[in-house]
Symmetry: C3
Subunit: 424 residues, 3 copies
């Protein structure tokens, strides 16, 4: 995962354009069956319209003697996203009106865009700005902004039922690592995991799009299928660093997506952070929006907006790690396993089953001997047909993930039945 | 408001009699259309009966040489409320059985009444009592207790619907300021505010009565209209000092009245005090009583029973202030504004509306730029037709009062519909 | 109660056998109408089978010179419960495989059993084990394990309705005091209390059985009656010491049994301990099990598993006391009284009744005078036909037990009606 992220890092992406396509192609080298869709500029998508396509191949600020001040080749963050082309000599004061910095983080280049209003501009560190002392500079942006299309990818992996788990991420930021490439590379690896599952109860819908406008476009073009089938969804964003784990709750905070992710995180990393929907910021916004209202929450390690390097040049390949990516992947694998096993369970006999005669209970009864079998006894006590796996786990304080093998044991002993819906 | 309270202060009021009428007339000088009702003594009102009318014109305790010990002219609190007339010379010991003091507050005259058992008595400070050293005294009470009537006032200001907001206060305590006159003067000013509202969704019912028996009488005589129409009600009591703000919750603590008052207080004065219904003591008792069960809560600054000067001569014009009264008035004005706008709101488009093209969202996207528009975005996220204004406010932590202008902006952009009941 | 416990203490009981019968006979000397039931070995009871009957008359470990090391006559805990008979000379090393100790409590003999796997064994203190230095010992267990029957007792005391309160305990541990004899002796005394109640709204079902298998057998043989009639049930266990009071909640923690026991304990002993169903361990397990699902919780003083002497020889007659037993009895008497009075109450008049004219309210109104009558006023405020006694008590913070006399006063004044179900 880390290596793929490193390959993707240098590409200049945006919400449209060749950078996105080139990045998606790199991912499709590993998973060729991801479908690619192109939606023409001008297509109405709900209250929005697909914008013109932007491509940028170079640019920078130069002293009149030709000496470079900043250059796209050094960091594609230097060009304001969606800048219109320009090539002119201007006064220092006018230039400064087109310069964006993050003064509290004086060494870092901020990531700034102007998707829906035509502008040109440069981003640089506050310290670089302080060095702009000449009276005139040459400014160059080699970009094009014209009708084209917005690109997204998806892959639906069928399961035993049409009920769907949605796993989505975005691919529109230029050279940033945690807040861009961590999501797609973990997403890609999860496709491999799901493909190799022996049995799939759920159909899995994997989606990769530019953030916000891409999600709106995707929902607009797949509305009926999403509304009919999606039972839980997850937006993967900023899943590559080592610092913590986070959930961004869905609007009502109690959907299947919230329940399973919180259950897994509670045992995987008890200090995980739970962010309310009020702090939303990635595509969970669109999936939870009025009229869409899908059970989707966000999954992050250090959440966007919450870590200092966010949306700056410091969000680079040093910020993420193979271990960080692996941790996020492991969580999502557990999420999938718990979802696949999240039935309503019911003990098949009336009253407590006799576990001892099945070798599931110690034959010597002494103070303390019960502790070893508490989890199986507690599971049995709550397997009354009214609780699903996650609910039982939450009540008996044993991770759902760990209950799966207990379920297998009980099934082998004909002690457990299960159902997609509660028993009446 | 303070000036009117000062004019009302010297009058000797009780639950019936000319003091109440004289006080109501002073208020009606400013709001002449308040209706005055007289209910004859003996009228059955639910489990109660309207008592005889009491009037008192003077009295006191005098030494046998005629020297004054205490006198009604100095404070009308000196005469036990509803005292029967007397004029006699008695032994000191017998007199002391008719003397009421508040020993823990030795300089203050307590306010004591005996409405439903015929007695005579005097109230004085503990220190005054200590000076009663003569063996005999002359005691005089110039009062009458005989069939008459109980007086109350009301004013119904019609709105677009018959749904009613009830705003009620009482006017039966003699010379005390916070626990008496603050309520009526704020109540009077709210009538002016409501009258001058351009559009009134609600009909407003303003009621002023003697406490307890007056509320019982009022409810008894207006039961069907109250039960049919009142959607929220507020008892104004002790709303004139500067120390805090308080709500006395309705019985179930979650009526529209509770919700709106708590929402307003949370932002107006975050340290406000929320008292449970178990601490009730004013007319919210009757409005919440079994079989009446109206959504009414109490609004106070320092709550009755909870401030030291309560029901003593120290509750005088120094305890209340123009600023104190104004604060309470401001809260109630916000309550009215929020109620008038408390609809269920629903965004008219599917998915997130594009605020940028309407000038409601920054065109430059940089870290932090979202904060300025968080309130409007959060409002939109929760405007799903299932939340009313107060509920949205409570969920997104922005005062309902402040959301009103956001609602106006969204309405102007055809982005919002609203309804009296939840959208299905 | 303490004296009966002392008489029962020396008997060697188990889940079957003459010890249980002899113990039950001692209780039946005081309550002869307790019914005795014998269920043959081999009888299927749900997923279980009634085991063979075990009787033990002696045994021990002896040096080859005949000197006693440990002997059943000193403590019947020395013989592993359900040991098969043996009489042989064995090597020290082999003996040690049959010796059970509790090393962390080196002076106490642990209580250990092997009901469902045939074994022989001895229990002793860790210090006794350390003295086993000979190379060979003679081991003797004079026991029989063969078809017989399991014994239980019950007594149904009819009331005005068929609705039942279940009070159950167990009688299968050998010489231990808190975790065995406290339950049966308090249970016996409660039978006397219930018999002498003038009026009984409820039918009371008293059950005494060996723990676990006895409860399973009892439920199996009385399933329909239990499911149809039981409204609340209590397992009495470890109710004889002086240290605390405890509830073991039912599975959903909110049944009538939980509500009444918590209400009583809250006022009887505010520091009582509330244990979740996850810590269950006595017959509440079976009564709450899937398919049985009866509203039964456990009542203890120091809960089993939670006090150091639990399941050891230190749980002797010094651990329990007449005062400890009396405290548990008093709690259960209050539980019964509250249950008998736990109706839905409704004030018969509309609006607040006038308590003053009925002598239930002070005729002088002065600051503080209300406090004396707050409980009656609060009761009236919440007696709206939607709350039962326990719910009113919980809301107004007055013990249900203390509200019973207020209810009587209000009934005498025709101010209160009551009903088994909520008023509509």
């Amino acid at each position: 995962m880390y290596d793929l992220a490193a390959k993707l890092f240098p590409i200049c992406r945006s919400i449209t354009g060749n950078g996105f396509r080139q990045s998606l192609d790199l991912i499709r080298k590993e998973i060729p069956d991801i479908n690619v869709h192109e939606v023409p500029s001008g297509t109405p998508v709900f209250d929005w319209t697909v914008p013109n396509e932007w491509n940028c191949t170079g640019g920078g600020i130069y002293k009149l003697n030709g000496e470079k001040v900043i250059d796209f080749a050094d960091s594609n963050l230097h060009i304001l996203g969606y800048s219109i082309p320009i090539d002119t000599i201007i006064e220092r004061d006018e230039l400064l009106e087109h310069v964006y910095t993050q003064p509290e983080q004086p060494d870092w280049i901020p990531y700034v865009t102007s998707y829906y209003k035509e502008r040109w501009g440069f981003c640089m560190s506050e310290n670089q700005k302080k060095n702009l002392k000449d009276t005139q500079y040459r400014v160059v942006i080699k970009s094009s902004l014209q009708p084209g299309s917005l690109t997204y990818g998806d892959l639906v992996i069928p399961g035993e039922t049409k009920d769907e788990i949605l796993i989505t991420t975005y691919l529109c930021h230029p050279s940033m690592a945690n807040n861009e490439l961590s999501g797609p590379v973990v997403w890609k690896e999860l496709i491999n995991y799901v493909k190799h599952l022996g049995i799939r109860r759920y159909t899995y819908r994997f989606v990769i799009n530019p953030e916000t406008i891409g999600a709106i476009t995707y929902i607009s073009q797949n509305f009926d299928a999403l509304k009919k089938n999606v039972k839980a969804g997850f937006v993967l964003s900023c899943v590559g660093d080592d610092r913590t784990y986070s959930i961004v709750e869905s609007m009502y905070a109690n959907t299947l997506a919230d329940r399973v992710l919180k259950n897994v995180l509670k045992y995987h990393y008890p200090k995980y952070k739970s962010y309310s929907f009020l702090t939303r910021g990635s595509d969970e916004r669109q999936y939870n929006s009025v009229g869409v209202e899908l059970p989707v929450c966000g999954f992050c390690r250090s959440k966007y907006h919450e870590y200092p390097e966010y949306h700056t040049s410091a969000d680079d390949m040093n910020l993420i790690s193979p271990k960080g990516l692996q941790g996020a992947y492991d969580v999502m694998v557990k999420v999938i396993n718990v979802l696949e096993n999240n039935f309503y369970y019911k003990v098949t006999c009336k009253c407590e089953p006799q576990l001892g005669k099945r070798g599931l209970y110690p034959t010597i009864s002494q103070k303390g001997s019960y502790n070893e079998v508490a989890a199986i006894c507690d599971f049995i006590a709550y397997a009354d047909g009214r609780h699903d796996l996650i609910s039982i786990s939450d009540q008996i304080n044993v991770s759902a993930d760990n209950l799966i093998c207990i379920i297998e044991k009980l099934k082998r002993n004909q002690l457990l039945s299960f159902n997609k819906t509660p028993y009446l």
